[in-house]
Symmetry: C2
Subunit: 220 residues, 2 copies
């Protein structure tokens, strides 16, 4: 309960804050479960039981399984932005930034920021052939990531690091393909060389597109 001196506003604020804390607690748990078992494995009852919360409390916060799934996709998207996209912006536009974005992604997958590997790889395969709000949210996230890679390459071209005749969509497609396949092989059968293969392929693609191969950063 809120402190004795607080008026109605204080009690409401306290309740809202506790609700937000519970939301964060739930979503920390659901992004992990979904990355291993899939978004379909989420249910209000299971989450309540696992976190020792009342089912009605979890229901009050999320309303339905679909809302819980959508909130989980959004929470995973924020973690992805914070881990992969934002830190790359510390580099000025150019091939250094493109290389940093790819290196961040490979580390995000290899370090298992989500225990099941890239959250969106699993969600994409789970919801690709279905319809509905969860499918749409996953599509938006996947498009957002490819769009981010394309923008980053486009800025590198504007900065003079990437040759003007480069097909940006094609290069972004190939970089994303190498990253996602490294994640898939590593998670599926622990292929130890998958990240090295992806780094090596990404470096070769960036060298081929660079105005000067020296501009391509060393990937880990």
């Amino acid at each position: 309960m809120s402190g004795g001196t607080a008026g109605t506003g204080g009690r409401l604020d306290g309740r809202v804050e506790r609700g937000n804390q519970t939301r964060r607690l739930v979503l920390r748990r659901t992004v992990g479960i979904a990355s291993v078992e899939g978004l379909d494995a989420l249910s209000l009852g299971r989450i309540a039981a696992e976190l020792n919360l009342s089912k009605s409390g979890v229901f009050a916060l999320f309303g339905s399984k679909e809302e819980l799934q959508l909130a989980t996709v959004r929470a995973a998207g924020r973690i992805f932005l914070d881990t992969v996209v934002e830190p790359a912006r510390e580099e000025p536009p150019g091939l250094g930034q493109v290389g940093r974005l790819c290196a961040n992604w490979l580390a995000y997958s290899e370090d298992r920021v989500f225990p099941g590997g890239c959250f969106f790889y699993g969600a994409m395969a789970e919801y690709d052939a279905r319809e509905g709000a969860v499918h749409d949210a996953v599509v938006d996230a996947a498009r957002g990531w490819t769009g981010q890679v394309e923008r980053c390459i486009g800025e590198a071209r504007d900065a003079g690091d990437v040759r003007a005749d480069t097909d940006i969509g094609q290069l972004a497609f190939e970089l994303v393909a190498l990253m996602e396949t490294a994640n898939a092989y590593s998670v599926l059968h622990g292929a130890p060389d998958a990240y090295r293969r992806a780094s090596s392929g990404i470096t070769a693609r960036l060298r081929a597109a660079a105005t000067d191969p020296e501009l391509v950063p060393q990937l880990p």
Copy 2:
């Protein structure tokens, strides 16, 4: 029932044959369901209801949900071999065979031989981070496919089409990455240019590895 003139053997043969027919009927259905909704969506009761069979009959044939899932992975593997791998063997070893293998795969995905796109892409993402017999069967299938691509490139090198210093594992990884990502983008958001991008990337990789670029076949 079997014909009146048949002895016990005939009745048994008839029963076995009817069992095999039902097995094939069930598996035709389950590979489609699993490619759209995942292997977890398979259950003996659902399949029996959808195909108007008795649940005990389906149970007698498969025994458990896991057996049904494993039989479904095997059935999908046979369809994959018949559609992608076997027809490529019509070409003699060389870059023509490598190109045919990749073209067959892209057509297998784009033509939706399975309604949810590549069967194994979905199964991999669904079972990658789990343990058990279904995970192991999916890992075997994925390894088998990469191994097939590696063998085919190795034979092309032995035939003198591929440069001796080519890193076969790396090239196979990159070709598979382009194919699987085309499938993922097409199924997820109908990206119309995904297969063209994959073809274009595969052609570039094969040209870079070829002893003579003229040996690289035109991909559709």
